[in-house]
Amino acid sequence: MALNQTEYPAVQETLVTQTLANGLRVLLVPRPAYHQSYALFAVDYGGIDVRYQPAGATEMVEDPEGIAHFLEHKLFEKEDHDAFDLFGQTGASANAFTGATSTAYLFSTSTQLTENLTTLLDFVQAPYFSDQTVAKERGIIGQEIQMYQDDPGWLLYYGILGNLYPNHPVARDVTGTIASIAQITPERLYQAYRTFYQPINMTLTLVGNFDPERVLAHIADNQAAKTFAPATPIVRGVGFDGDLSTILPYRAADLPVIRPKSAIGIKGQIDAQGDLEGTKYKLAIEVLLEMIFGDSSPLYQKWYDDGLVDDSFAADYIAGRTFNYATITGDADDPSAFSDAVASVIARGADQPALTEARFQRILQAALGKYYMSLNSLEQTANQLSSQSFNALNAFEVVETLKSLTLDDVKRVAASFFDVDAVSVFHVRPEAQA
């Protein structure tokens, strides 16, 4: 079989892509100088996917929050064994994670790659949920939920998301709540599984030291030997939320913290897709935030010198299926002064002294370097490829889009994204000592 192989000289990488007969996408990046291989089996299904039309049904259902994460935990456990142990027996290291829009199962190994690939494909594609195992899992996940409740950074983050998205599940943590996970049953898990864990909705990504031809044949054989239900289109009930009218402009929480914390959120109003135009839009916002709020910005330096912010100050942009937003967060002695200062910058729209050509070129150069550096890690390479896999551009092509950005692109997104009506503020204050 001839490999569908593309070279990317700018990043010195080779990418092999193949969509199998059952619809599963396979992405392979050989790295002969490395010692191990990293495999990631991802589903386009995450924490926000709590409203959908089950496969074969015509009505929408509403699942309890936290179901995608619960499913991820439960998939490892089978009737008579735990998939973790199968990886462990070869010395491979396995894990899984659930995000807002995807779930991924992964392992890394330096030996017995094909055996571990079989384990990965087989355990994810053979669900087993029972009343007993579901009940036990509530204890473990309940502990996880409680641990996050003790993390003020986490509470700040979900506080500002709750302000921006009162009616969208992205504001709810992927683990759910003690109350919501109590409603999860084996039936609900099977229903979600059948709907989303279809090969057409999944990607297998491998990066590392292997022979792509041999590995691809192994994966194709594994899939050909299994029977899958006919593919059904996935109908999701959670749509894009760019609605400014629902934003809660301000909330605060009193918590057992020592330092006050401040967060400013900006809700994205444009549903940027994974195509060239959408990718350009998202990259331009990232560059914009770096130019205005980054380490080398005159604004940051002034605020730091004035004691308004410290080095916990951070600006991030997150874009996913049905949402995108920026957060500007940090510890601050005076959280109101912090958020007022940030809000006044946003109010200027595209009229920002920091948006100069020289500064733009420098930030772009740095973004390029950071991207090259990220490719040192097999894990990061695979994660980037996988998360881009349902989009028109792959992760190695995104770098070309980055290079093509101009200062005008950045000014254009500043004019629309920096909208005072899209802004909200959340403060965490130390609770009064008893």
Partner: protein, 419 residues
């Protein structure tokens, strides 16, 4: 390859084209003195934020951006009985950037480490005041991370009586607020002129290329240090401490004296015993405390050979405290009694070997191996030596290692009643 540039100043070069980056680390190494920790930490902040050439953070950040987004930081750490100040610079490889970034990188390191911004003969007072205040705020808010709070408190309890070990590598808030300008300058001068210096360079580079760059840093010769790396804990009765805070999840930590040699048979037996006890997802702690009994969100153990120290950390419901502590003791007893299958031991070893192979894909790990090799003559950085030593560990050696672990401290962070 370790090259002596001057007395007490060494360069370690690891040539590899595996990565898209070049990594440069400069380590300043001194015997651990608790009274210096806070000053050495404040020094890293002052140097990082202000030098003669880059007087503000913005200036330094702009220079790093121009160098293809190079990342740079200075930190502190302890390795056994020595304290380290380490400056690390990560650069895109010259071949990929098509610019001589490595030479630019050494220039930047020289400017930041050796040419601080001075006013008269002291550090810029504005910078000093601000960084002292920021660092104090940071140290003051560390307890917001409850797992870290519990870990540091456990070590304070266990190492009570030895300040250099009981104090974290970054010092305490009280020490920090006592640091004066004069003291900071004295600590800086002492570090520059007396610390042993180990420079590690890793990437697609040659010795011929790096030696002149490293020499240009201009570190003067200094007396060679003869320091003991290993800290040995005196035998004491088990210490207990309970603290409480507004937490939803309680923390129970246990600390053990763990006799070990450095990279000899006893060391490798300890590594395997720790992995079996609580170091991996296959371990007895993980499978029996977290998974089977569903009693903890996390339950793991770690082993530090330089301090002859092991620690178990768990996050639990406070009501289960006694049950969890008993279960932990049971798991250690099982390892000591050999109550584990040959299969499990084999899988534990395979896991260690696999993880070790994987580590050779990390520039950070490889650079650390160079440092360890420079500090400990018996250390062998290669995979083959590690694999042979782990494979040779017998069941009896694992049992003996677990039996030699002695519980000396129990720390409990309890859930405080809501007001």
């Amino acid at each position: 390859m370790r090259i002596q540039l001057a007395s007490g100043v060494f360069l370690n070069v690891l040539s590899t084209n595996q990565f898209k980056t070049t990594r440069v680390a400069i380590h300043f190494i001194a015997p651990a003195r608790a009274q210096d920790f806070a000053a050495r930490t404040l020094l890293t902040s002052v140097l990082e934020t202000s030098s003669a050439k880059y007087p503000t953070q913005s200036d330094l950040s702009a220079a790093l951006e121009t160098m293809f987004g190079a990342s740079f930081g200075i930190g502190v750490a302890k390795t056994g009985a020595v304290h380290r100040v380490t400056a690390t610079l990560n650069l895109v490889a010259d071949k990929l950037a098509q610019v001589p970034l490595l030479a630019q990188g050494f220039d930047l390191l020289h400017e930041v480490l050796l040419e601080p911004k001075l006013v008269g003969n002291q550090f810029d007072p504005e910078v000093f005041d601000r960084e002292q205040k920021n660092l104090a705020a940071y140290l003051g808010s560390m307890d917001e991370d409850r797992q870290l709070q519990a870990s540091l408190a456990t070590q304070r309890l266990y190492f009570q009586g030895n300040d250099a070990q009981a104090t974290p590598s970054f010092g305490t808030l009280r020490q920090l607020t006592a640091v004066t300008q004069a003291r900071l300058m004295a600590v800086y001068q002492d570090m520059l002129s007396h610390d042993q210096i180990e420079i590690v360079v890793l990437g697609d580079v040659t010795e011929e290329q790096v030696v002149p760059l490293a020499k240009q840093l201009g570190f003067a010769p200094r007396p060679e240090l003869a320091f003991a790396l290993i800290y040995r804990q005196p035998d004491v009765p088990v210490r207990q401490e309970t603290a409480s805070a507004h937490v939803n999840q309680a923390k129970l930590n246990l600390a053990y004296t763990t006799p070990s040699d450095l990279y000899g048979r006893q060391f490798y037996a300890n590594v395997v015993a720790n992995e079996l006890f609580g170091g991996s997802p296959l371990s007895l702690l993980f499978t029996n405390v977290r998974e089977k009994a569903s009693l903890a969100y996390y339950a793991s153990s770690m082993f530090e050979p330089f301090r002859q120290f092991s620690m178990v950390q768990t996050g639990i419901d406070a009501v289960n405290r006694d049950q969890v502590q008993q279960l932990i003791a049971d798991q250690l007893a099982k390892v000591a009694a050999g109550a584990f299958s040959a299969d499990l031991l084999a899988h534990i070893k395979e896991g260690l070997l696999n993880a070790r192979q994987a580590a050779y894909d990390s520039p950070q790990f490889l650079a650390r191996q160079e440092l360890l090799h420079a500090l400990v003559p018996t250390h062998q950085p290669g995979y083959a030596a590690y694999a042979a030593a782990i494979t040779a560990v017998t069941k009896q050696e694992v049992m003996a290692a677990a039996a030699a672990m002695k519980l000396q401290a129990v720390y409990f962070l309890d859930e405080q009643e809501a007001n």
